[in-house]
Symmetry: C2
Subunit: 270 residues, 2 copies
């Protein structure tokens, strides 16, 4: 069985912690119905009166990855210059929004005009560009960051990472979150100028959202639910329907097909 983070409803339970009609969150099979043994991988879900899908995206791993990578790994200061790649994706769009709300200058890149317009419009990024339309990324970054980049939230790796380092300020920080160019074509791996890394005292740090502490997770939920309730944080979801949409939804992640969090809704009614 293939599984992923999901939200479901208990139909029947012999486990003392779960009753019929409980909403649960955790690693679920990609299926309409499934039998979970033990129940250790599940936790009860309090919806906090938000849509169920929010608990997979903005309040789930995507939100925590964005929050943790930006605030815990990069420790931004107000006014710092933040660059986000794959900024139309589930994590990237939230990184940019958090950074703007915090008081940073934020530029994102994405692979379609639709996403760029969304970043500059609805999501409030200071600027954004379509990397597919740029012929010289060094020039591009110098145009958007004439005073250099302080923080790079890297979702793609590859050539962009090389060029960012060359345009980074002293004490620059790179949160290494994804390397989509490595996943899809290992020939595109980033060749780093370590002299730049040393003399600018740059930190590059890989991270996984699973390893943030319970206090960090509490802070994340508190800040994020407040922002969403106040209408300050825009929730971007890209929902497809039915088990039959799973393959195309998955493949789309590697082709930049999704805008915001990709979710497959399997059951119409919970």
């Amino acid at each position: 069985m293939i599984n992923g983070n999901g939200v479901g409803k208990v139909i029947a339970s012999e486990h003392p912690n779960f009753q019929k009609n409980d909403l649960v969150y955790g690693l679920l099979d990609w299926a309409e119905y499934t039998i979970m043994k033990g129940g250790n991988m599940l936790q009860k879900l309090d919806t906090l009166e938000f849509p169920l899908s929010y608990h997979l995206g903005v309040f789930g791993t995507s939100g925590l990855t964005a929050y943790g990578g930006l605030f815990q790994i990069c420790e931004p200061k107000k006014g710092e210059k933040v660059f986000v790649s794959a900024a139309g994706g589930s994590v990237g769009n939230l990184v940019g929004q958090y950074a703007k709300l915090f008081g940073c200058y934020v530029v994102g890149c994405a692979g379609t005009k639709q996403k760029v317009d969304l970043l500059k419009g609805k999501l409030g990024f200071d600027d954004a560009f379509n990397y597919k339309e740029e012929t010289n990324l060094t020039n591009t970054l110098q145009r958007y960051f004439p005073n250099g980049i302080d923080i790079y939230f890297d979702n793609i790796g590859g050539e962009m990472l090389e060029v960012v380092l060359a345009n980074m300020n002293t004490y620059g920080r790179v949160a290494a979150c994804g390397a989509i160019s490595d996943y899809t074509n290992s020939g595109k791996r980033a060749t780093l100028n370590m002299v730049d890394v040393i003399y600018k005292q740059i930190m590059i740090k890989g991270f996984l959202c699973a390893n943030f502490s319970s206090n960090e997770i509490k802070d994340f939920m508190s800040m994020t639910t407040n922002y969403v309730r106040a209408g300050k944080l825009c929730v971007l979801e890209d929902i497809s329907h039915g088990v039959e949409s799973i393959p195309s939804a998955f493949i789309g992640l590697f082709q930049g097909g999704n805008v915001g969090k990709k979710i497959v809704q399997i059951a119409e009614e919970l």
Copy 2:
């Protein structure tokens, strides 16, 4: 004029902070005599009854770089596995000695048999190898680190960095101190597997010894002078004599010619 960190003696002074016969430390011209204006680049030197040369190496920038890179950047835990490249150099030999004294398992690499013998013998490294004799660095590192590397003190960059990352444990840390392969041949830049960096949550951090705090420097001096007085830390110096030895001394740094701290002694008597 070309300058570098040096120790000198004041012959005459019109500056209120300096008197004749004061020993001073700072950025000095590579010359037998020099006139310093303002004196801001100099500080008085208390020899603490150690040889003057120690204040350029083990108590100077080399020692502070080794100490700061290991303890502040990498935050070792006892028993962790530490790998040091250019371990026969001025910084690398001290990194390995600090790490051993702290309770880590330490392996160094160097470019001559003489250096490898020194590391394993006099300096007390757990093991060492001559990278020039190794045909497959991946196999080499697996042999010396069957349980993976926790900390890499990188003085060279290039292919070694790539191979170290592949052999690194979760939460591995790389103190990026030097990139001699970049200085000498930019075609050898490290091509990083960012997927490894992300999934193992590896940190790569460039640093310069100039940016450690005064408290860190105080701790460094206290620990290091104690170790040297107790005979626990071996001071490796490679001293050449006279102004005429400067060019070969400098070029030797890029060819692995020096063992320990390279010092040019210009005046015989201070």
